[in-house]
Symmetry: D2
Subunit: 145 residues, 4 copies
């Protein structure tokens, strides 16, 4: 349950349709596991072909899934027919992205008519626990509404 | 030619060896095309499997190559035996990442003993020209020196 | 109550002593109203001499109090004798800083030996309520410990 | 000379009028010393009442002048009647803000119809030389045009 109300009753179908068009998510094996008004989760499993030089998930892969989660959190609140673009984001890397799988959780901080600010985190799952790996603060723009 | 002097005469070999271990760069088809003291270039060709919902390169893929270029720009100035980790970066997306190929150019803004600040840009190449797609400002930490 | 434990029993006195040396806080009329392990609050009243062109608090004044709150949240967890410096921060401005008074609330997101990441918010107080005005994600470095 | 052309022939008067309404700039003793299309400079002298705990200019004061310079660089390119608001900025602090005086230099990186991205630096002047103290990457929104 979130503090937000979707303007478009079909928000989940719209978010899922857009996610399905993100070819890079398929390349990463990322799955859209939760869509609520203003809150989205994306999961992905560890894959060696997505790693940096120490065998951890590369920061860009982290950025990809957290940014997509942020964008879809924003899109879940947008009016029907609108699209959301990332203007910018900042990502802090807090600990090595080591785990069997990962979950990106994003939430809308402030939804405006044009600009929506989102926060997102990436957690690594290992031995039943979750560890915060990275945190993002980003700015999304709603267009075409 | 840059304003910086490498502390380690083998800086290029060290940067190239680390890049070769970044499995995600191979997955993206990215190539380390230039290594100078404090300045690094990475190129990649357009690939449909790296795109977002509109068919452009996904922001996370942009972040990956610009962040790697920033990290290696920092590493090029680090003493022998040291490693460089990204603490954080901010990426501004300026125009759609549409092009036949892309080049990430990163340079050190300030090299400190522990913290190095880098700036990087992604350019799209199309019809012989270059167009600025994104710009990054990031913070790298030198460890193990 | 926070999730953190202070390493230095005198953390509050240390934070208060450092705050008292920040001349700009006195210039702004800012007060350190709460110091807990990993969490700090700074308050300030509206002053016309701190405004931008529309009569709201200037973004730099917001940055000053939220950054100080972030830095002191980090310092509250640092060992005795250590100091904390801001490496960088990102500030998103969410709504006009209009209010009778303001409170900056900062918390440590991840405390490391060298690098501590903090998040902070500025709220405007008006007619008994609070409105989120800005949010910061910043990186602090612990030195001299 | 810059790469940009102003849409409004009165851009300098408009920027100067807005700056004159920023009460905090007067409080800081900051002066608008240069206005060109897409490029703005603001200078200020060292003042003890603007310092942090070590006697250097506080990061928030740096943020204030660099953000104002960025905003006015964006405004210099905006159509007549439009206003510019800062959406967000990131500031990296590179060295202590020690000097007799300081100059903030900002330039437009990409000017869009709604969103303009700017970069700005703060330099400290001391003994005839200049030293880079901080660098900003920020996002501005043009409204009311």
């Amino acid at each position: 349950m979130t503090d937000f109300t979707a303007k478009d009753a079909d928000f989940e179908a719209r978010v899922r349709a857009s996610f399905a068009r993100q070819r890079v998510m398929e390349t990463f094996g990322a799955r859209l596991t939760s869509v609520a008004p203003g809150e989205v989760e994306i999961e992905l499993d560890f894959r060696e072909e997505l790693t940096q030089q120490h065998g951890y998930l590369h920061a860009g892969v982290i950025a990809a899934v957290v940014d997509s989660a942020c964008g879809y959190a924003a899109l879940s609140l947008a009016p029907a027919g609108a699209e959301v673009l990332s203007i910018e984001f900042k990502l802090n890397l807090l600990s090595p992205a080591a785990g069997e799988s990962f979950v990106a959780r994003a939430r809308v901080v402030r939804a405006g008519r044009n600009v929506t600010v989102c926060a997102g985190d990436l957690y690594a799952r290992r031995e039943g626990g979750e560890n915060l790996v990275a945190t993002m603060l980003g700015t999304m723009m709603t267009v075409g509404s």
